[in-house]
Structures are given as C-alpha cells and as structure tokens.
Amino acid sequence: MDLARNAELRERLAAEFALGTLRGRARQRLRRWIAEEPALAKAVRDWELRLAPMAAAAVAVQPPARVWRTIEERLGRERARPGGIWANLAFWRNLGLVASGVAAGLIAAIIAAPPRPSPAPQPVVVRVPSNEMAASYLAVLSDQKTQKPMLIVSAGRSSNELWVKTLDPAIQVPDRSLELWALPPGQPPKSLGVIPRAEKMTALKLVAAADQALGDVPALAVSLEPSGGSPTGAPTGPVLYTGPFLKYW
C-alpha cells in the first residue's frame, strides 16, 4: 500500500492508531508502516499529541509502592546514561582533583576510591581554583546508585566556611531543597545547611572553625528535603549523595 501518496488514508489511519481503535494485527501492521514511512510516523505523533490531553480526565489511581521499587531496580541495572557531562567517564575508579593555584602552581591530590568491578577505569579531573577550595578537609559526594560524583565539599582547617561545589547543576529539584549533613560517629546527623540553588560554588557557614566543627566527622551526606530544609532538624527525605570526609595534612 502506498501510504506516501494517499495523504487522506494516511491521516485517517494515523488518527485511528492514536485513538486506539485499531487493535491486534491491524495495529501491528500499521506499526510496521510507521517504522517505514516518516510521513506516517509524523502524522501519528501529531495525532497522539492532539488527543493525549484528554487523559487529563482520567481518574487518578495510586499505583502500589512496588511499582516504583521495580522501576528503581531496573534503572539501577542500566549503565549510566550516555551523553551528558559524564559521558566518557561512565565508570571511574580514581579521582584526580587538580587544584590550580594562583601563584603556587599546581597542587594535585589523588583520591583512591574503593576499586569497583567495572571496565575501563578512567580518572575524573576536576579543575578548581585553589583560593576557592583550600584542600584541608575534602569530600566527594557521589550518587548512591550510579556512583557518579555530584558534589565536592571542602574547608580549610581553621576556616569557618565550608565550600560546596556542585558538579552537576541539574541535581537541584524544583520545590525541594538539598541539605548537607555531617555524619559524626555514634551521633545523629548534624545539618550543615541547605545547598543554595543556581550557584555552582557556594560557602556554608560553620558554627566554629572546621577543626572544631568537623574534626571528628568521617563522612558527609546530602538528603532531599522540603523547600528550605528539614523541618525537624534531622534528615526526613531520601539520602541521595554520600562520601567520606577526608583530612589532607
């Protein structure tokens, strides 16, 4: 059948396909034509978008919690998405952090992350001006599921400022806040503040110099909280990113 030449028939089939009245073999046959004929594919897409707003009238039914759990499991099995800034760094083992000093040349610190059973480890190099990232305390917080590094946190030993660098601005979620937590051993998490949105590098105020405030903290975490931060003073949302808090001296 030459659908390419029969615009009227093409239009009618596209509409019926999108509406859903074609079923079984008729639907499968049309699917094959769609794959072969771009004009038909476009007509179907147009019709789907034309009709889909009607779905607004559908009665909402809460799906069981197992549906999301299964989706998460299935996503966890997939490799990190190709494309995006980490495209060529899908799997990484060593993380080299190069801090370029203003006058002092380059200071390089290599953090050996635990070995992961993954092919082709490649170093991730992050260039950070040293005046913004004094490498005294340092943490790289990674996505718990994908192991992608998402944030770098650092502080000078005697500084009251904790620098947070967001490696991927897309981690911010509308209407929610990301809150940074210290995880002191044997104690509940201690809030270090909400990570401001729309800024790649920001400083959070510490209650005291880093040596006093964070000297005994082995790890940091970021949780997803209601806008403005946890209302209870303890994490209430899922923990998204974690990493060891390391001392460099």
């Binding site: 707003p53 779905a55 607004a56 809460q62 981690i171 979620v173």
Partner: protein, 182 residues
C-alpha cells in the same frame, strides 16, 4: 500561564538526575496509572505497563520538546501507546471501572471536558470536542479512555459497526479541522 514544574523535572531527569525523576514519578504516576488501568483493565498488567513507560520516560526524557506539548500530554501518549499494545481483551464486554466518563458522556453534561479545559493543551481540544455531534464525541471519548476497538465500541453503543466507524472517522476529521484553526 505559570511554568509547569514538570518541565524542569523532565529536563533534570534527562541529565540523569534520579531525585528529579523520583519527584516526576510521585507527581504523575497516579494519573498515568489511571490511564493505563482504564485501558488494560488488569491491575498487574497496568503495573507492568507503568514500569515500562517510566523506564522509557527516563531514557527518552531528552527527546521531550516543551514547544510541542505539556509534559503530562507527552507522558500520557507514551502510556496510552504502550497500554494499547498490551491490551488483550478476551471479552469485549468490558466493565466500566468508575462509570464517570461514560455517564458524563451519556448525559451530555461533559464532565470530563471540564478537566480538559483546565490543562495547558486541553482547552482547544475541549472546545473542539464540544463542537462535534454528541454521538461522534461520545464514540471518540469512549474509544480514547477505554481503549475500545471499533467492534468493542459498536457493542458498547449498541450500534452497527459501520455506523460507529463513520462516527469516529467524521469526528476525528472535524476535530483536526477545528484544532487547525485554533
């Protein structure tokens, strides 16, 4: 018109942001589950459809174009498509889950169109649906929401197959003309 927060969630999901994707799921899954359930009519099947669709949405989030449709419209078309592929109805005499849409259509009060008018992409469609003859509108709404084939539609409306096909065809043609003028 205010910015649709789902646009930002989809954009963040396209960047690989799992937290944004989870929010997207929380905000859209009930409506989309309703869409799938209504078509496939079996809860376990609808759950599988929903899982497949969200994996697809995650993988295809980067293909979404804000200029073409609202996020919900885009996602609903994915769910409908998948549901229609999966539906295997032994018995064409389907049960009406909630009766709401059927009753609204039958009494011609057009209750379902009220929701439609409030949505970004739906206002023009609602207006054009109102311009159809009642029987054409009823056939199209039934086919759409319940995923009925022509013969199922004929059984439901107790009309000859040919008659129902004509209603659907003419209704769709008018709809397109009307939307083209919008």
């Amino acid at each position: 018109m205010g910015a649709d927060p789902l646009v930002a969630l989809l954009a963040a999901s396209a960047q690989g942001n799992r937290a944004a994707f989870e929010q997207l799921y929380r905000q859209t899954s009930a409506k989309l589950f309703g869409v799938a359930l209504r078509i496939v009519r079996q809860e376990d099947l609808a759950e599988e459809v929903l899982q497949d669709c969200y994996i697809r949405i995650w993988n295809r989030a980067g293909d979404y174009r804000e200029g073409l449709a609202a996020p919900m419209t885009w996602m609903a078309s994915i769910v409908r498509n998948r549901s229609l592929d999966w539906v295997r109805r032994a018995n064409p005499e389907v049960i009406d889950v909630d009766g709401e849409i059927i009753e609204g259509v039958a009494s011609d009060t057009l209750g379902p169109l009220a929701d439609l008018e409030r949505s970004r992409d739906g206002a023009a469609l609602a207006r054009c649906l109102r311009e159809l003859e009642a029987k054409q509108r009823q056939a199209i709404l039934l086919a759409f929401h319940d995923g009925l084939s022509h013969s199922e539609l004929a059984a439901r409306l107790r009309q000859p197959l040919g008659t129902v096909k004509t209603w659907v065809r003419r209704g769709l043609a008018k709809l397109k003309t009307c939307l083209g003028q919008a």
